[in-house]
Symmetry: C2
Subunit: 207 residues, 2 copies
Amino acid sequence: MDRLGFAAAHLTNLEFGRDEEIIAQGCKAAFCYQVQSGCVRTVRLLEDGRRYIGAFLLAGDVFGWETGLTHDFAAESVTPVRLRRIRLSVLDEVADRDHGFATLLRHYAQAQLRFTQSRLILLGRKTAAERIASFLAEMQARLGTRTRLLELPMSRADMADYLGLTIETVCRGLSDLKRHGTIAVNRTRIQIQDPQALDRAGSDPVH
Amino acid sequence: MDRLGFAAAHLTNLEFGRDEEIIAQGCKAAFCYQVQSGCVRTVRLLEDGRRYIGAFLLAGDVFGWETGLTHDFAAESVTPVRLRRIRLSVLDEVADRDHGFATLLRHYAQAQLRFTQSRLILLGRKTAAERIASFLAEMQARLGTRTRLLELPMSRADMADYLGLTIETVCRGLSDLKRHGTIAVNRTRIQIQDPQALDRAGSDPVH
DNA sequence: CGGGCTCTTGACGAATGTCAATGGGTGTGG
DNA sequence: CCACACCCATTGACATTCGTCAAGAGCCCG
């Protein structure tokens, strides 16, 4: 999605601090956003307070474009973030004029769909321990650290709501991995000591 | 996706019986398919035999197009089905020539993504009873029966693997709804007696 | 140094999975 | 046409996993 840049005249730069609302749940969809730096979460609340996190967005990721008329998910900053914003109507116009860009958008949508589908199996069929291990593997891949030290941007509560678990279960899962010597844990700092054991614990058939 | 028809020269019609394999998991992606009649499921297996169903496809639905190089999910017929098949490379060509079709594809991908995301919250945060009620409501909407009689095409095992539950839990959930007078059950025939109670039981914030 | 976070751990309970037995329908072959 | 067998659905008893509630520890910031 780097070619978003060529519509530069229509881009607005924005900044948010920690834990601020970027998009309200259910509001009318007008803009989409690309993360320049920092981390954003998409959030959906049920009436009784249950919370679910649809995605964590990192530098380069785009959100808010998959929407229909309204945003089904809210978007909030996890860390301080810098964003670029573009009007959805402009995005559509550009896609109409520029074939290559339209193709890019379509492929991006397909990739997102594949990613989301593989999360379904995680939530539908994996145990708590497997979800946690998969999550750490995912984050290591996405944060792109060749080193084995992960600096997670999000809290345990965010992890829990992303994985369909509770805070306590996430803690226990991390502690188990620690006991087995697979990782070392210090708050949001995770040292991966045995990557193969981590992959095995996540039991990901693909990736 | 009805405009698939205008590439008629490249369409192949296919038929399958009950429980046949249409696409093998992990095979190279060459074609995509549209359901003409009947029901198809997409399936993913973990090594230890756990099974997950990604989607049920009904008449009009398209599958196999969201793929990268290989199909992450297998596709199998639930009932006897009639399908139309088109080569993915042809689909891309048509999208390159025809703006409107490219836009259609993109919007279809976005709609699928939104649907899949709302399934994440179902698997991540809903109880067994809520999942079952949501499923029945979904099927009623998709089968488009104005009457309140549902003829489910799939077995309890399929429902369970779609909802991230076991067969037994699905049965118990249906029995509970029956006890409350919300539905009547006879195998795959479901009579919805109290649609409002069903919606409440599913606690869907959107839709 | 103290207050308020978040994280961690333990004890317990509830929801769901597992294992097993039974029942009811459907299809097939006699 | 009937009988049997098989498959699927259902139900019960029990086990396990995960959530809930509660307490305490560590850390960050004023």
